[in-house]
């Protein structure tokens, strides 16, 4: 029981940190969450993390909220998922609420904007290193070397030429799921023959 409460508290603090330091939206946040949850705390395994991302992407709502709820549930049940979600949302809520009170001054303050521009550079470095790490750790067979570049090119083309391309990522994920299932079915058959 004591351990569970401690875990919940840790979930809250870790997602508070994620909420406070993630810029750049959905997938960018996933990089940071992967860094904190899988690598540093080892709360869930790398393979489970992919499962979490697939679910977060194919359900409604902001991806990072979905990830927080799901990871929280996996680590410490419903209480864990509540605390993780509240932790994630709280920094945005507090920061934007304060900003909204002084909105006109805020958007004109050059020091705030300068500091934020600097932070943005740091965030991009963080994201880039996380993606590289993620790709390095994966098993890279023929499927990876085909699927990764094709999906990447499709995503980039769509984000250049279409303003609303959110559905394309969902389609790519569904195609990936189908490939995965077919592959499992085929290798099952092979095992049976032997």
């Amino acid at each position: 029981m004591k351990e569970k409460i401690l875990n919940c508290l840790k979930l809250f603090i870790v997602f508070l940190k994620i909420g406070a330091f993630s810029f750049g939206g959905g997938y960018a946040m996933i990089g940071i969450i992967q860094n904190e949850i899988v690598e540093k705390r080892k709360w869930i395994r790398q393979s489970e993390f992919f499962e979490v991302v697939v679910i977060a992407e194919s359900t409604p709502g902001p991806i990072s909220v979905n990830v927080a709820t799901y990871v929280g549930y996996k680590v410490a049940g419903i209480l864990g998922s509540s605390l993780a979600t509240i932790g994630l949302v709280l920094p945005s809520f507090v920061i934007i609420f304060i900003i909204s009170l002084f909105y006109d001054d805020f958007i004109k303050n050059e020091y705030v904007m300068k500091a934020f521009s600097g932070i943005k550079c740091g965030i991009m470095v963080l994201l880039l290193t996380t993606v590289i790490k993620l790709a390095k750790k994966m098993e890279r067979g023929l499927y990876f070397y085909l699927a990764f570049p094709i999906a990447l090119i499709i995503m980039i083309l769509f984000s250049i030429f279409l303003s609303d391309f959110s559905w394309i990522s969902l389609i790519l994920i569904i195609i990936g799921l189908i490939f995965g299932i077919i592959n499992t079915a085929l290798s099952n058959k092979k095992v049976k023959k032997v």
Partner: protein
């Protein structure tokens, strides 16, 4: 009842946007702009603010609209509304999926998606960099300008992190790195 309306509108927005983030802008335009809660121009100004403040766009816009309409309580209602659908759907799914967690097909399907997920994250990072370095950060429709200061600062931080890792065999503290970035930002921009 305005509080209920704020909650309801953002509940719908949370329920019907997949992929989150800017995918919800069309819905926000049709639901929020049409109610006169924000003008289209102010919405796009706020997107820029949201870029430089942390957290998911959905939460930021819900808190902002709620607060500008009805203060703290309004912000609370709108934010709760936008988060709740995700929270409920994910909890339901998580309890169902727990029963299938040993399934070979589930883990096979996940294996099939892994390279796709990495490409989704990579494309976001690449687009973020392209927009920030060459289009003033907002969108590809903005005029093309090479932002030398930003590129230089990015390369300096990137180089520093790589060298730190080579020398000390561990990652540089994330928050420390971001604080240093903010200080650099104040100096160079």
């Amino acid at each position: 009842m305005i509080f209920l309306e704020l909650f309801g509108v953002f509940f719908l927005i949370g329920l019907f946007t997949f992929g989150g983030g800017y995918a919800m802008i069309p819905l926000i335009e049709s639901q929020v702009v049409s109610r006169g809660w924000i003008s289209t121009d102010a919405l796009y100004d706020f997107i820029a603010v949201s870029e430089v403040t942390p957290g998911p766009f959905a939460i930021n816009i819900a808190t902002f609209i709620g607060s500008s309409q009805q203060g703290f309580l309004g912000a609370l209602c709108a934010t709760l509304g936008v988060v709740l659908p995700s929270f409920i759907v994910i909890l339901l799914l998580a309890t169902i999926l727990r029963k299938f967690s040993k399934s070979k097909y589930l883990s096979g399907a996940i294996d099939g998606v892994k390279p796709i997920i990495i490409s989704l994250i990579s494309s976001t990072v690449i687009m973020l960099m392209v927009k920030t370095f060459f289009f003033g950060g907002s969108s590809l429709q903005s005029p093309f300008v090479i932002d030398r200061t930003t590129i230089a600062l990015f390369l300096i931080i990137f180089g520093f992190v790589l060298i730190y890792k080579k020398v000390f065999k561990k990652d540089f503290n994330t928050i420390g790195m971001l604080i240093i970035s903010a200080i650099f930002g104040l100096i160079v921009f």
